[in-house]
């Protein structure tokens, strides 16, 4: 039946604009974290811990973790936007109900939310990149490619987040993916030490399947200006494929939840 095929339209950008407007209303609060956070990590880990670590694979420790800080920021800014913030808009503010009473469909609303999550990732990663460039821990000009890439990575984590939001009975149950999925990924995706030091099976799993591991691989290749084609393109293709599938799945799950 043709009626069951629902895809977002250009109206999704109306939802994106709404979120953008809110974001820039409180831009001072919103723009502070991406500048402060990398500063703290760089000082504490890059230079503090880095004193003892020295180099990893011939790279100074601060330069090793710089791309990881970018990748983590892409993950956090988009994942938490499309879990807790989206849940608040959907469940407490009834914003989605208000939007679907207009020509917007639920597909437009969710697509707009996903695009905004991706945009947040771009804004945060780009701001952070400025700080990292100032510290001289990323290579130029290849690092500039992090800007467009952060949108794609943000879309990935937005889609993952929206799937959890769509099936979460309450805002508290969103703590499960945050602590059981995001936190371990934050630590074991080649962020602060190479994946190669992990035990064999864990290493294989992380390399093949962890979303953040793919994002760290691509970002690190760009900031260190050293691309190893098979791994780089595997990660890029992985991200694109999972984005495509999960964007459709998350929209489908949301329709099932909200259109009754």
């Amino acid at each position: 039946m043709s009626r069951s095929l629902h895809l977002p339209t250009r109206l999704a950008w109306k939802v994106w604009q709404r979120n953008r407007d809110v974001f820039f209303k409180t831009y001072l609060v919103n723009f502070l974290p991406p500048f402060i956070e990398p500063l703290l990590y760089l000082l504490a880990l890059g230079y503090g811990l880095g004193m003892f670590v020295g180099e990893i694979d011939g790279v100074p420790y601060a330069s090793f973790i710089a791309p990881a800080l970018l990748a983590i920021s892409m993950m956090n800014s988009s994942f938490f936007e499309c879990t807790y913030s989206s849940f608040v808009r959907m469940y407490y503010q009834k914003a989605y109900d208000a939007m679907v009473a207009t020509p917007l469909s639920i597909e437009d609303v969710i697509a707009g939310e996903l695009l905004w999550g991706a945009t947040r990732s771009l804004i945060y990663a780009s701001s952070m990149l400025v700080v990292l460039v100032a510290f001289g821990v990323v290579s130029l000009p290849s690092s500039l490619l992090v800007v467009p890439f952060s949108f794609l990575a943000g879309l990935l984590f937005s889609c993952i987040a929206m799937c959890f939001t769509a099936v979460s009975p309450s805002i508290d149950t969103l703590n499960y993916p945050s602590f059981l999925f995001i936190t371990p990924m934050f630590l074991f995706s080649g962020t602060f030490f190479p994946i190669s030091v992990l035990p064999g099976p864990v290493q294989a799993f992380a390399t093949a399947a962890l979303p953040l591991a793919q994002v760290v691989t691509v970002t690190r290749s760009l900031t260190l200006a050293s691309i190893s084609p098979p791994i780089f393109f595997y990660s890029l293709a992985w991200i694109a494929a999972v984005c495509t599938v999960l964007s459709l799945v998350s929209i489908r799950l949301m329709r099932r939840r909200l259109v009754v």
Partner: protein, 319 residues
């Protein structure tokens, strides 16, 4: 209200009077085994104010949600502006103004911003949206609050802003789900005044309400629903006339009075310590009770929609 008024309506004149704005035939909505809406049929004509009354769980909101194209019907036909709700949701919603039961204004914005952001969802150009926002804030007596965030509004102001928001796209049909819910009498009267004004401009309005006085004042025609079905349909005055009688006799209930009523062959109902008697000659009945039945207080009052409602749906509590 003055001068700007013609901008607030939607002009029923565009619609040919022969074609209903909303038409439902054998409409059904199932939630699992629950028949939330059970084979209902009705038609709403242009310029009408049409009410849905009924106890909680009667299926009023579900019916409105299907009309708004946000809840797909299980079976039956439902068309709005002559278009099937399943095939043309975006086209239909373009011309709808919706006031939901729950206040869902955007708390991140001020009053004016709420209207502007909402106008954008309808693809209304920014300049036109700004003009409409000012007109509507004025019409709803919210101009002074234009730059106030939502949390700074009273309950009545929030409901008025929601009505303003529902008008931002010049709708051809207004759908109001309990528009005056939780308002104090002053705020409710102001809301009624605004709805009356919209009505006199020829707007077509659907509304649900638990306030029967509100339905009696506003609705040209209404249905009373219970358990997903339509029990009766008609003009409020006609319904009162045929189901409750224009006047109702009320007396303090005592065995003597009840015996009298039985003797007169009068239909009556006992509620607590009062008895209500229905008759086509209410004044005679009242006089006879007073003169011959040793009654305490007796009075005749006008029949209301509430009598019709309670008579049809019973007095049992619905939760």
């Amino acid at each position: 209200m003055h001068g700007g008024q013609e901008k607030v309506g939607m002009g029923a004149g565009e619609e040919s009077t022969r074609h209903p704005i909303v038409q439902a035939r054998d409409l059904v909505k199932l939630y699992g085994d629950l028949r939330a809406v059970d084979t209902v049929s009705f038609a709403v004509m242009p310029g009408e104010v049409f009410g849905f009354l009924g106890p909680n769980g009667a299926g009023k909101t579900t019916t409105l949600r299907m009309i708004q194209c946000v809840s797909p019907p299980t079976s039956g036909a439902l068309s709005v502006f002559g278009m099937d709700v399943r095939d043309h949701p975006a086209e239909i919603k373009r011309w709808l103004g919706v006031v939901p039961q729950e206040t869902n204004l955007d708390p991140d914005f001020t009053c004016r911003e709420n209207l502007l952001v909402y106008a954008r969802y309808f693809d209304i150009p920014a300049r036109e949206a700004r003009e409409r926002a000012e007109t509507l804030l004025g019409f709803m007596q919210l101009s002074e609050k234009a730059d106030v965030p939502i949390e700074g509004l009273s309950g009545g102001m929030k409901r008025r802003l929601i009505l303003a928001r529902a008008l931002v796209n010049n709708p051809r049909l207004l759908v109001l789900d309990e528009p005056t819910i939780g308002l104090d009498p002053q705020a409710r009267h102001l809301m009624w005044e605004k709805l009356k004004a919209l009505q006199s401009l020829g707007n077509t309005i659907l509304l649900t309400t638990h306030y029967l006085e509100e339905a009696e004042r506003l609705c040209d025609r209404l249905v009373i629903m219970d358990a997903g079905r339509i029990l009766v349909e008609g003009r409020p005055a006609d319904l009162v006339g045929s189901y409750a009688g224009d006047e109702i006799v009320e007396a303090e209930s005592s065995p003597h009075v009840l015996a009298c009523l039985k003797e007169m062959g009068c239909r009556f109902e006992v509620h607590g310590d009062m008895v209500q008697a229905f008759s086509d000659r209410p004044r005679d009945v009242a006089r006879r009770i007073l003169e011959t039945c040793n009654a305490g207080r007796v009075f005749v009052r006008r029949g209301t929609l509430e009598d019709v409602f309670l008579g049809l749906t019973g007095r049992e509590l619905r939760e």
